[in-house]
């Protein structure tokens, strides 16, 4: 008998709107377990990024409650939320959000800027993360001089360097060619196999098989999809 997976993230009747007449998410309920690789697909503007931002503790829902590792997010203060983001959450952005004048290594190390990890340990973890993302040979190169695929791998290394519990990836392959996309997905699959919970948003349906569960966002509502998910 195997132990039941622990809930990493729970959405309980979550709705979100940016103004009174712009609803982005409506009545979303779901549970993400620590062993999950969740894929959320949907057309542009369907609320995928907002869904990830709510899960990554960057935004509070207008209605309902988000539970991060069984803690109600609305009950947490700014300091606690920031500590959780620094130590438990990793985020990969479609736009990378790298510091272009910093080197690759400095960008990865920047992931520890607000964590309490000692400097020596942060350097060691950054090196390991760069090896995992296969960018250790680029570590002294300025981030502004990298290709799109390389930049995304730097962003992945930065997101995973602090060993988060949950990794949120917002269209991580949105700007990349097929070959680079496959490389990125292979890296994410390896991380998931190593025990990382991954929640990924994409409009590319061909990536669904990498996940073990698939959800579709249509009409601001989240629906479980029956498409075959192999997991890793």
């Amino acid at each position: 008998m195997t132990a039941a997976p622990t809930p990493a993230l729970t959405f309980d009747r979550v709705s979100h709107r940016y103004s009174t007449d712009t609803t982005v998410l409506s009545n979303v309920s779901m549970q993400i377990n620590s062993t999950d690789f969740i894929m959320v697909t949907g057309p542009s503007g369907s609320g995928k990024s907002t869904f990830l931002q709510l899960g990554a503790l960057l935004e509070q829902p207008s209605e309902g409650e988000v539970y991060f590792q069984q803690k109600a997010v609305s009950s947490l203060d700014d300091k606690t939320l920031s500590q959780l983001r620094a130590s438990r959450v990793g985020i990969i952005f479609q736009a990378y959000h790298l510091l272009p004048r910093y080197s690759v290594f400095e960008n990865v190390l920047f992931g520890f800027r607000y964590s309490k990890t000692p400097m020596d340990e942060a350097r060691q973890l950054s090196q390991e993360a760069m090896q995992l993302a296969t960018i250790d040979h680029l570590q002294n190169k300025s981030a502004g001089l990298l290709s799109g695929g390389e930049m995304q791998r730097v962003a992945i290394a930065r997101a995973i360097a602090s060993r988060p519990d949950v990794l949120f990836a917002d269209e991580p392959t949105g700007n990349l060619d097929r070959r680079t996309t496959d490389m990125i997905m292979a890296t994410l699959a390896t991380l998931h196999a190593a025990g990382l919970t991954i929640v990924m948003a994409t409009h590319d349906d061909s990536l669904v098989p990498f996940a073990n569960r698939h959800y579709q966002l249509t009409g601001h509502s989240l629906h479980r999809s029956d498409r075959a998910c192999h997991g890793v």
Partner: protein, 397 residues
Amino acid sequence: MVFSIAQLWRDFRLGLRNQWFMSAMVLVSIATGATCCASLVSILRGLQVQEEAIINSLGANVFAVSNAAVAKQSLLDTATVSALRTHLPELETSALRFDVIDANSTGEPLHIVQTDSGLASIQGWRMQRGRFFDPHDLTFSTRVVVVGSAFAEMSGWHPGDYLYISDLAYRIVGVIDSRDLQDQPSELGNLAFKPRTVFMPLSLDNHWSADITRNPDRVDTLIVRSKSTRASSLMAARVQRFLLGGKMLNEQLHWVTPTTLTKGIKKLRRVIGITLGSLATMLLALAATTLTASLTSSVRARFSEIGLRRSLGATRHAIAALFVMESLLISISGAALGITMTLLIGKFMTSQLGFLVEVDRHVVFIPLLIYFSMGVLASYWPAKFAANLSPALCLRQ
């Protein structure tokens, strides 16, 4: 990663790279304002030091009263001074009579000051050699003189030597340290003793004067020092009451007190304080607005970075601190630049132009404190704006 100065410096550099031109302009603006502010402090401090020097030159708790220029005859005389000494024994007084005669050989005038034994102690003069007059000299009208050390050195005189005035020999009994006599401010009038001055007893006949109509008992100036620590203005009022009770009119007397001496310098301080102070305030306001505008622009240009920092665990306070620190570094650097400029200008003005400016710790700390406060205030709104930004919104930019 724990907080470190190096990390803080890297954060600051990251901000500067985005807005280096704007930051440079702000730095110049702050440096200009700080120069004006530091100059104001240094000039006002210089005038304050000058004021203190003038008051000290008169002596602590000392004031003087003379016959006014409008008075047709000398209203002060030895009898009045004696009466005053009897009436107000708590005061130490010294009567002075001034004369100027042409010297025989050099052609330069010789200043004669006839006085009594109290002058040296009231003025706090140090005797380099010999002694000042004693009551015996005054009682017996001995022909003795005291000169300044510079005059004695120039003329090759020593105590025991004789000098001749209108063919009469006077024995030099003492030499005053000239450092006590020189650099006397012009505000002191007759009391700013010239280098070629000889002091002799008040009781001597002024045989060198051809004017026989002059009252031989006249006193030109009376110097008064309170033996107690009571303010000289109170003592002056008592002396004034005594003299006016003797039917003198106040207009016939000229009072030299610390207040009258420093009247001009106080006025100058007020004028400079208002003009330069207004300019410094305007430049401060300009620097503050420029800094606020630059920081606001920096916040807008760094939405993505702010979003990234928040996603990596920065609290609202950490984001606010980023902009407050940036503001403080710029304002303190600008102030330091301005203070350095002031120190250089002050040095030049003092050495080349003889303009008295005081460069002390006030010149450094007052502008630093003002511009530190300005840096905090100027960053308040941009820092608050940045701290309250939604990280999700920033990351969408």
